[in-house]
Structures are given as structure tokens and as C-alpha cells.
């Protein structure tokens, strides 16, 4: 920066901006020309003098009170109105739209997916061996009293699966929540019944089936009915299970 351009820069920059990096550079450049520097010093002194008169002026209390009242009145009168071009309103609208899209994506995306938590329960159930069950000789739908006596009081089997003959029953815990399991000899199936709410599982719409395969040889189908999840696990594929579910 030449002394002349430094002088021009400092001529129009108010006192409080004179500490900026550019102002410091300008002052350094100006120091190379004693004449211009002296001229600038005189200007700065005059500006300081004028600035101190302005800064030192006390605004009369009556004026402060009057302007205060005016500010209060304008605040009451001029509350922010809806203006679609207001950047803040625009930001809120975009944020809201994004939230809606995100929620829709989240819930629609989940709708067709077999719940991860239910898959864990299915895998646990599939590992159970015959000797780990208590022997029962009842139809699946007639075991609600048996489970009530064991402390599981919301046992519910969809009507179309109620007539399967059970050979064993037991309760195991998944994430500290009870899961009722029935061993069904026909098709080598397990029926698993549990409360989905504490596990954060939701099958939508109610009554619809969701299928999955796991551990290379098992398939599971799940549905929700009367607030309880009913899951079938078989050795086979989702197609086998779909056929079974359609024609129990």
C-alpha cells in the first residue's frame, strides 16, 4: 500500500475500525511519508475531539423515556407477522418439510422390514432343543391357562393356528421380556408369542405378515394381533413359510 492510498483509506475509516489489520497496514505505510502522516495525525485528533463531544453528550432522560415508550409501542404493534419471504420463516418451513420427509422415509422404510429385535428372538427360539421344553399335549390355542400359570398372561394365538398340536411349551427371556414358545411337531415349527411394545417392535398394518430368512436354514414370519406379536419359525425358506401362512 502506498502512503497516498493509505492516506485515502484512513480518511474515511471511522476511529473504531482503525485497529483492523488493514488500518494497521495503512498506518505503517503512511509512516513512510512524514507529511502525510502528520496530516493524518491532525485529522485523527480532530475526529477524536468531535467523537468525544458526541460520545460525551448525555441524552436527556425525558428523551430516553419517550423513545423507550415508542420502542415498547412498536414492539407491541409490530410483532413479527407471517411473511413467506422472511428468511427465518423460510428456514422454519424448509426445516419442517425436511422433518416430514425424514419421518415419512423412516416409517415407510420400516414398514416392509422384518424387525431386527424380532429376528434376535427368532434366532434364540430356533436354538432351543426339544429337551428344553416342558411336555404338553394340547392344541396350541388351548394353552393360555398353562401360560397364565407360568406368569405369561397375554398369550394369544391367531385363530387359524390355534388347532396345531403342541408337543412342548416354555418361556424364555429376550432382553428381560418373557417370550412364550411352543414346539409344534407338524412342519417342525416353533410358535413364539411376545409383547412387542417394550421391545419397540411395530408391525404395520396390524394382521399383515413379514418374512425373513436367517442362519441359512431358518425362516421366520411375524404378525401383530391384539397387541401381541405372533411369530412362526421353521427350517426352510420364506416361500415355504408364505405357503404355510396362507394355507395353515
Amino acid at each position: 500500500m502506498s502512503p497516498k492510498s493509505a492516506r485515502q483509506f484512513l480518511a474515511i475509516h471511522p476511529p473504531e475500525t482503525r485497529d483492523s489489520r488493514k488500518a494497521v497496514r495503512a498506518r505503517d505505510a503512511l509512516a513512510k511519508s512524514p507529511v502525510l502522516f502528520a496530516e493524518y495525525e491532525a485529522q485523527a485528533a480532530l475526529d477524536r475531539e468531535t467523537g468525544s463531544v458526541l460520545a460525551g453528550l448525555e441524552v436527556p432522560p425525558a428523551v430516553i423515556g419517550e423513545l423507550d415508550a415508542r420502542v415498547a409501542a412498536s414492539a407491541a404493534h409490530g410483532k413479527r407477522r407471517f411473511n413467506p419471504r422472511d428468511p427465518a420463516m423460510l428456514a422454519v418451513a424448509i426445516g419442517f418439510l425436511l422433518l416430514v420427509v425424514l419421518l415419512a422415509w423412516h416409517f415407510l422404510g420400516r414398514a416392509g422390514v422384518f424387525p431386527e429385535e424380532a429376528l434376535t428372538i427368532a434366532a434364540e427360539g430356533a436354538k432351543l432343543r426339544t429337551e428344553q421344553f416342558e411336555v404338553v399335549e394340547e392344541k396350541a390355542g388351548a394353552l393360555d391357562d398353562w401360560f397364565v400359570l407360568k406368569g405369561f398372561d397375554r398369550f394369544h394365538i391367531p385363530a387359524r393356528f390355534a388347532n396345531y398340536q403342541a408337543a412342548g411349551a416354555r418361556i424364555f427371556k429376550a432382553e428381560n421380556r418373557p417370550v412364550a414358545v411352543l414346539a409344534i411337531p407338524e412342519n417342525y415349527m416353533f410358535f413364539l408369542i411376545f409383547d412387542p411394545a417394550p421391545l419397540g417392535i411395530g408391525i404395520h398394518p396390524e394382521g399383515s405378515w413379514q418374512f425373513t430368512e436367517f442362519d441359512y436354514k431358518y425362516a421366520a414370519a411375524i404378525r401383530e394381533e391384539k397387541g401381541m406379536c405372533f411369530m412362526i419359525v421353521i427350517k426352510g425358506t420364506s416361500k415355504d413359510l408364505a405357503r404355510l401362512v396362507e394355507n395353515p
Partner: protein, 137 residues
């Protein structure tokens, strides 16, 4: 520190500027009140810096219409009378410059001048102020 809410924190400087333009406390208060009412009704001025620029440009426009008063009547008018007597546009330029409300670039824009023109206005004002202020300092 300004006694006003953050979005109106420049009102003290605005009133002093209005006092320089009008030469009378009551007229300055009326000028600032008018600008305050007009700016607060504008739905597009939510950004404080922009509101401040519009506010001061209203003061410049309306304040320039005020006639120069014969003499001060109150201590506040007396204190700024030496600025009130300056001719335009030097009066607005030097007052806003010394109040430090705007940067040089914004000040030039507010007064509708290029930076070299603003520099000339300020120099002219300083030349006029020198004989008044030099004896004080």
C-alpha cells in the same frame, strides 16, 4: 451501553445524529420517533444491520429538510451546535463518521457517494471544524 433492546441499540446515536440535523431536542425526538415507527412497520427489515441502514437513511432524508436554527436553547443543543451549523453533505458525513455507526464503505453507500467523494466531504468538514475545535484541544 444502550438503554434500548438489541435491535434498537443504535437509537442513542440516532438521536444525537438527529439533534445535529435539526438543532432542536424536540425535533430530533420527533424525527427519531417517526423513523422508528416507519421501520418497525416494515415486515422486510428483520436484520438489525439492514434496519439500521434504512433507519439512518430516513434520518438523513428527513433531517436534511430541517432549517438551521438560530441558536441553541438547551445544553444538549449547545453541545452539538458546532456540528449543526456545518453545511450539507459535510454535516451528515462527519457526524456519522465520528459516531462510528457505520464503516467507511457503508457510510459512502448511505450518503450516496463514492469513497473519494466521501473523503472530500469529510476533509471539508474537518477544515471547517479545525478553527472551532483546535482551541479546545
Amino acid at each position: 451501553m444502550s438503554p434500548y433492546p438489541q435491535e434498537w441499540s443504535f437509537l442513542t446515536e440516532a438521536w444525537k445524529f438527529a439533534l445535529v440535523l435539526t438543532g432542536r431536542e424536540a425535533a430530533a425526538t420527533a424525527l427519531v420517533s417517526g423513523a422508528l415507527g416507519a421501520v418497525s412497520k416494515r415486515a422486510d427489515l428483520h436484520e438489525t444491520e439492514r434496519a439500521k441502514r434504512v433507519f439512518f437513511s430516513m434520518l438523513c432524508r428527513e433531517g436534511a429538510k430541517a432549517a438551521v436554527v438560530a441558536g441553541p436553547e438547551t445544553p444538549a443543543e449547545q453541545a452539538l451546535f458546532f456540528l449543526h451549523r456545518l453545511p450539507e453533505p459535510s454535516r451528515q458525513a462527519i457526524t456519522l463518521f465520528c459516531l462510528g455507526v457505520f464503516s467507511g464503505e457503508h457510510l459512502a453507500g448511505l450518503l450516496g457517494k463514492s469513497e473519494p467523494e466521501l473523503a472530500r466531504c469529510l476533509d471539508e468538514a474537518r477544515q471547517r471544524l479545525h478553527p472551532i475545535l483546535a482551541p479546545i484541544s
